[in-house]
């Protein structure tokens, strides 16, 4: 992946606000990522981090009363935020696809699976009836639905969660989009089904050179599927890096804290306490000056009150919003202030 290749998706300085009776609240305060063609990028964060909003911003699907108040979203060089509604519709139909968390409500219960697929093909791709029918069956087969001819006549409630998610994926990728947004696609599924869906997504991405933005709170999922990961906290991006680099050495204290607090099967029988991040995630109502992670950070310094949460590169392809760099270079000898042990 050369740096010279133009990015597929470029988000910069994104800010998403909600108007409430108590004033404006920012769900995403200032965030940006870039994605290359065919890349699988994970967006990981906890509740309130802004990851879902960020994902939806790509398609401008922010529910009211939210709005994008600042930033740039560019897809293949085109300004998404400036698109007219017909351009946007075409964009959503052909260039980007999206799948959601809940496989039970994302398909219309009163239409057969096959018909929902055919509708997309006819409306978005302008295929004729017979053509759409054949293509629909191909798509169903491609996402691993056995006996597509018979299955396409079923209604959504006759399918299991995993099958519905496959249908969702078929619908979303029917028009061969270059980017697929996957918002917690496996959270509601059993672990065995989850594994299958993740494999499917990986395969489709490789086969079609389709980029995938995978949003999840589950680091294990991200690590299994993604090439790179962006960690979000409090409406900002705290760190971006290849998955391997994050495991070898995360640069942002939040990323480290998060990784350490993830339960691991290997711990079985060894009864040790999980290291935890003390405190609680930030309140979206309050805007803090300086580093939004400071209240919980064991490495915080007074100078952290002036931090701008801008991402700085540590190495090519690895950026962090933490200027203290307690694990790297000059800051590497720093010991944490209060018992965060590795």
């Amino acid at each position: 992946m050369t740096a010279a290749a133009a990015p597929l998706l470029s988000i910069d300085g994104l800010r998403v606000e909600f108007d409430t009776r108590h004033g404006s609240v920012a769900g995403v305060r200032n965030a940006g990522v870039t994605m290359r063609r065919g890349e699988i990028l994970g967006l990981v964060g906890e509740t309130g981090s802004g990851k879902t909003l960020m994902c939806r911003s790509v398609m401008r699907l922010i529910p009211r009363p939210g709005r994008i108040t600042a930033g740039r979203v560019e897809f293949e060089g085109r300004d998404v935020l400036a698109m007219t509604s017909s351009e946007l519709r075409s964009f959503r139909a052909h260039d980007v696809g999206m799948i959601y968390q809940d496989p039970f409500s994302s398909l219309n219960p009163v239409f057969r699976i096959g018909n929902q697929l055919i509708e997309t093909l006819r409306v978005n791709l302008g295929l004729g009836k017979a053509e759409a029918h054949t293509r629909a069956l191909e798509l169903l087969k491609d996402v691993g639905i056995p006996d597509p001819e018979r299955r396409s006549l079923s209604y959504p409630h006759e399918f299991s969660g995993g099958m519905r998610q496959r249908v969702m994926i078929a619908l979303a990728t029917a028009s061969q989009p270059r980017l697929l947004l996957a918002d917690e696609p496996t959270t509601a599924l059993d672990v065995t089904t989850q594994a299958q869906i993740l494999d499917l997504l990986t395969r489709l991405s490789r086969e079609r050179q389709m980029a995938v933005l995978l949003v999840s709170h589950d680091f294990g999922v991200i690590a299994q599927v993604c090439d790179r990961v962006a960690v979000m906290y409090g409406g900002y991006i705290a760190e971006t890096a290849p998955v391997a680099a994050v495991y070898r050495g995360a640069e942002h204290p939040y990323t480290r804290g998060l990784l350490e607090s993830i339960p691991r099967i290997e711990a079985a029988g060894h009864a040790t306490r999980l290291p935890t991040i003390r405190g609680v995630p930030p309140d979206p109502n309050e805007s803090l000056a300086g580093c939004v992670y400071k209240p919980r950070c064991p490495y915080a310094l007074d100078s952290c009150d002036q931090v701008s949460m801008a991402l700085e590169p540590v190495s090519p392809d690895h950026t962090t919003a933490c200027p203290v760099r307690p694990f790297h270079g000059a800051g590497a000898s720093q010991t944490p202030h209060a018992g965060a042990q590795v």
Binding site: V191, G220, A223, V243, P263
Partner: protein, 274 residues
């Protein structure tokens, strides 16, 4: 722990749910087998032990947990709490048994009455069971909250003003307020963020040490059980397919289903992890 008598004994527990029968089936009097949510389950929980109960959705683990405290009535089998027959208890005896086995539910957003303040909910629990100290409301509630590492100032709040992690702590405080010996955590951390989940898991371990609680920890995430459980039971289709020390079950599984579960657990691609 070895050799100490079992606090909870379950033998041959069965619970089935009747399938809806179509009109035609009813007329022709066709017999449809009920779906067995819990199929001949036996297990033991010793004092001070944390037993993990793992399984995917539909495995029957939640039904099993609810049968134990008779939130759902089992069809057959034995449940004994320190020798006392749970299934046959009625009235005051049942109430006392329930006091000794408390449950913490999964959904932090619906496990607390939205119309009651935290303090009211906790105090009520103490009063209904005449717990020592419950006459002094502020003292009782304050102590209960501090036991779960929450500030007593939260007593005046309502659930909607609290985060998911805080609500779960309140739910635990409410359960502890009646002085149970056994805590059943039914997916109690599954709906929480990872960092909050870690805090709650440590809390459960603390409570086990400080209060000598036994815990039946129901969860679908194997890693969570690996961190907290002494022993683990794996459920599939209503049956326990494997049970043993956590290290043994996860490190050297015997049953094919257990192996499949472990294999499906998301893990980083091997080449990536140092």
């Amino acid at each position: 722990m070895n050799g100490s008598p079992a606090l909870l004994r379950v033998v041959g527990l069965r619970k089935g749910f009747g399938l809806r029968r179509t009109l035609a089936e009813r007329i022709s009097r066709t017999e449809t087998d009920p779906v067995l949510a819990v199929d001949d389950v036996s297990l033991e929980l010793r004092r001070g032990e944390i037993l993990g109960l793992a399984g995917e959705s539909g495995s029957g683990k939640t039904t099993l947990a609810r049968c134990i405290i008779r939130l759902v009535e089992p069809d057959s089998g034995t449940i004994e709490l320190e020798g006392v027959n749970v299934r046959e208890a009625q009235g005051a005896e049942l109430r006392e048994l329930r006091r000794r086995m408390q449950m913490v539910f999964q959904d932090p957003y619906s496990s607390l009455n939205p119309r009651m303040t935290v303090g009211a909910a906790i105090h009520e629990a103490g009063r209904v069971h005449n717990r020592p100290g419950s006459e002094d409301r502020d003292q009782f509630v304050g102590a209960a909250l501090e036991r779960v590492h929450l500030s007593p100032r939260l007593a005046k709040r309502r659930p909607r003003e609290l985060s998911g992690g805080q609500r779960q702590r309140v739910a635990i405080a409410r359960a502890l307020a009646v002085g149970p010996e056994l805590l059943i955590a039914d997916e109690a951390v599954s709906a929480l963020d990872v960092s909050v989940q870690a805090q709650l898991l440590n809390l459960f371990l603390d409570l086990r040490e400080e209060l000598g609680l036994s815990i039946l920890f129901v969860a679908h995430q194997l890693a969570v059980l690996a961190e907290i459980a002494d022993r683990v039971a794996i459920m599939n289709h209503g049956r326990i397919v494997e049970i043993g020390d956590a290290g043994a079950v996860f490190g050297d599984p015997r049953d094919d289903y257990t192996k499949a579960l472990l294999a499906a657990h998301p893990h980083p691609r091997l080449s990536d992890v140092a």
